[in-house]
């Protein structure tokens, strides 16, 4: 699989390590009333979709940036990649 890095162009997925669902960027509020249950879901439960999946890849053997890659889990086709810092900024 080749990942279209927004800054470096197409890079082999072997240069990256995989973390998982991009929703891991949204940590629950630790001071909320139900923080324990929220964190339990955050740590252990996943949507695990068949089809389009937004996921975190770390360019460990490259520029050490985190990317949010959109990929089809039924075909391995990569539909896009953004810098995780940009995605995080847009959410705020």
């Amino acid at each position: 699989m080749l990942i279209p890095h927004p800054l470096l162009g197409l890079r082999d997925s072997q240069e990256f390590t995989y973390l998982g669902d991009a929703s891991l960027m949204q940590r629950p509020d630790a001071s909320a009333q139900n923080a324990e249950a929220e964190f339990c879901d955050y740590v252990f439960l996943r949507d695990n979709p068949a089809g389009e999946h937004r996921e975190l890849w770390f360019h460990e053997q490259g520029d050490r940036s985190w990317l949010v890659v959109t990929r089809d889990t039924t075909t391995h086709e990569i539909l896009g990649a953004e810098l995780a810092s940009d995605v995080k900024g847009a959410v705020k």
Binding site: M1, S13, Q14, F44, R46, N48, A50, T73
Partner: protein
């Protein structure tokens, strides 16, 4: 029809005209007491033990393709009970004991062959860890033997003992481990279940659950609605897709695991051998092919095929362990979907929906668990209480902090 040596001789002399179909192909009825979703080894074993041990009379197994066409037909057929943790090891040892009596029980040749497994040791730390594991195995009556380098040299002289980076220093052996014929297991359970009145319905995909007031009433399928008092889902690999239809999020990611088989060779490898310094394991099938595998690809996948980097990684492990494997030609490689759970251990439990039960999250180790997973899931479905060997495989172990993490890597499914 009962299989026996006498029957084989008789059929040989009378032109093989007396063999009958192993199971029927019935039309689905409008309702059953218990519907099992998934006609793999686990689902069929569940139906078999429900009928045989728990006396259930109205059971259907629904399979979207043909039986055994998912992971039951894609695994590397190893059976073993060499786990460490108390939540796991008694369960796998229960499975091993069921394997040992499987063929007598089902009257079907599943080619269970207790040809042993050797986990190789390459460092002092690893020897300590395997000594501890061996002690845990002996506590559960599974048996274990710590081997010296010389023992291993006698048993499997073809390994590369003096690899500069990973010399072999010893091994942990379970002599009762081995292999079984994956299709033979599926067919044996299917035939046994069918003989006891279970309807095995193939080409019948479950497309939804009918749930009212928190209680399951049946399943929508590609062949119409089928009512059920209880529904047991046993579809490891596709658990996410199926349970999503019941509105459940699971502590699971679906990943792809690849496996490989070489051309047929003369008998070379006596048992199962695992490389302790990388992830590579190998055995030899009765047809002669070397069957081997290694790590999962490591990213979410429902594609049933993997990519080349892992092929290369597995073969590098093979070359480091036994250089002669480089002379064999690779015949086939394939991928299967595995439920990778958050602690690397399975789930056999009720769900929050009354009448809906779940068996899954088998990571890469579902085949060896087939008999015990079927037995304990049947126990849960019939009695609403977990079997004594499967009390740890609960959904709520994550929130309660009772994870069963053999590898100790935390909630990161692609590392288990």
């Amino acid at each position: 029809m009962k299989f026996s040596g006498f029957k084989v001789v008789k059929e040989a002399l009378t032109g093989h005209k007396g063999w009958t179909q192993l199971w029927r192909n019935p039309e689905p009825k409008s309702a059953y007491d218990i519907v099992i979703v998934g006609g793999g080894g686990h689902g069929l074993a569940t139906a078999y033990y429900l009928a045989k041990v728990y006396g259930e009379l109205s059971i259907a197994v629904l399979e979207k393709g043909w039986i055994g066409s998912g992971n039951a037909g894609r695994n590397t057929t190893i059976i073993r009970s060499n786990y460490l943790l108390p939540g796991n090891q008694p369960f796998y040892e229960f499975s091993m004991k069921l394997w040992e009596n499987l063929e007598q029980d089902t009257n079907f040749n599943s080619m269970v062959s207790q040809r042993s497994i050797i986990n190789l040791i390459h460092s002092d730390g690893q020897r300590d860890a395997y000594r501890r594991r061996g002690n845990a195995m002996m506590l559960s009556d599974a048996g274990a033997r710590l081997l010296s380098r010389d023992d291993i040299k006698r048993m499997v002289p073809f390994l590369n003992f003096d690899n500069a980076r990973f010399p072999i220093k010893g091994g942990l052996m379970q002599t009762r481990a081995g292999t079984a014929r994956h299709d033979g297991v599926v067919w044996g359970y299917a035939r046994g279940a069918d003989q006891r009145g279970v309807d095995i319905i193939q080409n019948c995909e479950v497309t939804g659950f009918k749930i009212e007031n928190g209680k399951v009433l049946g399943v929508e399928t590609s062949r119409g609605f089928i009512g059920a008092k209880k529904v047991g889902v046993s579809v490891a690999g596709s658990s996410g897709r199926v349970m999503e239809q019941a509105g459940m999020r699971l502590p699971i990611e679906s990943h792809v695991l690849q496996a490989f088989v070489s051309e047929g060779l003369k008998p070379t490898i006596p048992g199962v051998i695992t490389f302790g310094a990388g992830h590579f394991y190998v055995s030899q099938s009765d047809k002669g092919g070397l069957v081997f595998g290694g790590d999962i690809d490591g990213y979410n996948s429902y594609a049933q095929r993997g990519n080349l980097p892992v092929v290369e990684d597995v073969l590098e492990g093979g070359m480091a362990l036994m250089p002669m494997i480089g002379r064999a030609r690779l015949l086939r490689a394939w991928g299967g979907l595995v439920d990778m759970s958050m602690d690397g251990s399975p789930i056999i439990d009720k769900t929050g929906i009354e009448g809906l039960y779940f068996n899954g999250a088998w990571n890469y180790g579902g085949f060896k668990a087939t008999p015990a997973a079927g037995y304990t899931f049947a126990h849960l479905l019939a009695t609403d209480t977990p079997h004594e060997t499967a009390t740890a495989f609960r959904f709520d172990r994550f929130s309660r902090g009772y994870v069963i993490d053999e590898k100790g890597v935390g909630a990161q499914p692609n590392l288990h």
